[in-house]
Amino acid sequence: MTGAPPIVEMTGISISFPGVKALDAVDFRLFPGEVHTLMGENGAGKSTLIKALTGVYKIDEGQILVAGEERRFGGTADAQAAGIATVYQEVNLCSNLSIGENVMLGHEVRGPFGINWKATHRAAADVLATLGLEQLDLRRPLATLSLAIQQLVAISRAMVTKPKVLILDEPTSSLDANEVANLFTVIRRLRDQGVAILFVTHFLDQVYAISDRITVLRNGGFVGEYPTRELDRTTLISKMIGKDFATLRSLGSERQSHHYEPRGEPLLKAEDLGRKGSSEPTDLELHQGEVLGLAGLLGSGRTELARLLYGADKPDSGTVWLRGKKTDIHNPTAALAHRIAFSSENRRDEGIIRDLTVRENLVLAVQAKRGWFRPLSRKEQDALVRKYLTELNVRPADPERPIKFLSGGNQQKVLLGRWLATEPDLLILDEPTRGIDVGAKAEIQAAVAALAAKGVAVVFISSELEEVVRLSDRIIVMKDHRKLAELENGPHVTAETIVAVIADEGDDEEGDSE
């Protein structure tokens, strides 16, 4: 990043959608050979800005210069022709084709007899080699690869056209630490080759690990552009959410000091609850007004255990007592009747129904619980919706907007409202804060804390250990589909404690006493 002119210069970009100003006079610059992170809460306008740069949206006002020339993009193809390539959050490849075919789709090398597959595969191998991925077998079907490698294949594909600008839209949201490290190796390689990289993520650690500069957006407006080393985390977060970081802090300390003493009969008690292949027999107790955290790495069996509690999967061992009575929760409808609600980790596929409005999404569970022959009147629906939109601060608070137009954080709030509307005694939240921004996270955490205070028992599942520690009264640590330990939360418990529990256990197994 010397005195070279910016490869992309966007000035005064404004985009309006009916009723909303999505971007308001935003400036953005990108230099060759740098990693530039775009930060902001969900709904801040990051995606809109990216879509303006990739030609998906037309800009209403402003100017886009690419390599000094003014450009008006009529579509994604125009942006690609101008040397701007994009890799999206969800891997957008064809799982029915091989790695080589995916990398070269649309750029196959052609000879007199149509596509020359030999040359095409050679070209694909060259691209993979420049990214240091020469060991990938080109003929391997994409479907057999892990998501992390598919992500790398997607980047390779983007590099086929030798773009000057590479946009990575939340490429790390489903990768583990090792995979992120691999991805960063590739990103650094590309940066050193002079590619300008625009990186979007929610993970602050990653921002500081990889980026040279940060542009912050808030509510569609431009907040500022900063060199990463001159912007500390606290300042960054307060710039993103536009309020004092202390607000967030206080929530955390409040919960950690609170320590719930279980009294009386547990709301739910399970003994030896398990299912072959997904969950080892587990004992657990859950009291009213308690937040029980399930901590563990991805794939440690947290979701599987939650699904057993909710009746989504059928346990093949164990007994469950609900309010002191032996109960068989054999399916989700039964669970709902017993006032147990479960919010899935898979917001997109198992949570929201994209084309329905906020109101329709919100009343779904209540309606299901009442039975479809006793429809909720419009008045009842409106009352419910108003209540939860206000309580959970859903923005925009427009009940008739299709939910697909809301940001992830606000979709999650609507989902939370859906289950709250059924007035559950036990609420299971599986990764309610995944992929949403700091502000919405804080609001959801606050809502969970408030619920517990009202006497609802909450099972809280999250990959973010800090969050589990902050919210939970007790924490069950899981590994390899079984319960490793149960911790009473208190000031002495931190994320490191949980990591230590998981790590220690591994050592014991290997007989390594060090």
Partner: protein, 352 residues
């Protein structure tokens, strides 16, 4: 978290894939071809069974007739392979054949030059395919509904032209397209014969294969079947391709109409009822997934021949009532679909 610049390890792309991994990859690459191989095996099995049980199957005239009598179905199946590979469907092809043949015969009998009449027959298919494609691509109509509409349209147009069998004049040059050319002159009637219709079918199969595997258009067809959204975001020409496949399917239906009419020498508005379903069955038996993305033109040819051979065997048997043909077709189809489901499940399982 720690971010290091060390080379990636584990199953990550830094190390050579292990033998087991490579074997797994090869196996799952083959798995997609397995239904097609199974169809081929069943075809061979049927021939062997037929030869053993009834005799006179493995000989020139039976095999030639199989090709001659099913060339129109093969052509239709090639068109539907394109459509189904993208995850679409074309229900209009049977009705397109009816309209195209009736129109062609009437034009020819009205004194049109045979070449012009044939051209119009093919173009009728292209235009109807274009209508379906526009409905699907630009009006967002489901392929099932859009082609259902074209099907009714074509059937209605055919009925408006005529509701009685229209006989092609005996001296019409169109009939020459069904001329039986002897390639090998066997003893008695056992000759290897071929018709221009069969040649057309073979050329179309070869072209279909080349287009699908050797052109960017063909790769886009597979990509759309894998994920239309991904294909769009990859910058592939999805709208043009989708439009293209329905035009191809319609055009091939027009060509099939020419081939069929020339052989039969007459056309009627009720010709081709249910042929779209025969062609779909052929495609599915040949190993193309109805959800799109996986399949082969050659498989569809085998599928069409399996259906054709089944008819031959049922006729030869004599004991099976011809009414049972559709039940047997349904049974075979069911077996193949279940086979595909099992394979799909196995694939998912191996992916963990």
């Amino acid at each position: 978290m720690t971010v290091t610049t060390r080379p990636p390890t584990g199953s990550a792309p830094g190390t050579a894939p292990s033998l087991a991994e490579r074997l797994g990859a090869r196996l799952s690459a083959r798995l997609s071809a397995l239904p097609t191989v199974a169809a081929l095996l069943i075809f061979v099995g049927m021939i062997i069974y037929g030869e053993a049980a009834y005799g006179r199957i493995v000989q020139f005239n039976t095999l030639s007739n199989l090709l001659v009598n099913n060339s129109h179905l093969i052509i239709l199946a090639v068109g539907l392979t394109f459509v189904i590979l993208t995850g679409g469907i074309d229900l209009s092809v049977g009705a397109v054949i009816a309209f195209s043949s009736v129109a062609g015969v009437m034009l020819s009998n009205a004194g049109w030059h045979p070449v012009a009449a044939v051209l119009v027959m093919v173009l009728i298919g292209s235009v109807l395919g274009l209508i379906s494609g526009v409905l699907i691509q630009y009006f967002g109509v489901q392929p099932f509904i859009a082609t259902l509409a074209t099907m009714f349209l074509a059937r209605g147009l055919a009925s408006m032209l005529s509701t009685v069998p229209e006989r092609l004049a005996d001296d019409s040059a169109i009939r020459e397209l069904a001329t039986q050319l002897k390639i090998i002159d066997g003893d008695k009637v056992n000759d290897l014969v071929i018709t221009p219709g069969v040649i057309a079918a073979i050329v179309i199969v070869v072209l279909g294969f080349l287009v699908l595997h050797r052109t960017r258009f063909g790769r886009t067809v597979y990509a759309i079947g894998g994920s239309e959204q991904s294909a769009t975001l990859m910058g592939l020409p999805v709208p043009a391709t989708k439009l293209g496949i329905y035009v191809i399917s319609g055009t091939l239906a027009g060509i099939a109409a020419v081939v069929y009419t020339s052989r039969l020498g007459s056309a009627q508005n009720i010709t081709g009822i249910g042929w779209e379903l025969d062609a779909i069955a052929a495609v599915v038996i040949g190993g193309t997934l109805l959800t799109g993305g996986t399949g082969f033109v050659l498989g569809s040819v085998v599928g069409a021949l399996v259906l054709g051979l089944m008819n031959v065997l049922i006729t030869r048997d004599g004991g099976i009532r011809p009414e049972m043909t559709t039940i047997i077709t349904g049974g075979i189809l069911l077996v193949f679909v279940i086979l595909q489901r099992v394979l799909a499940a196995r694939r998912r399982a191996t992916q963990g």
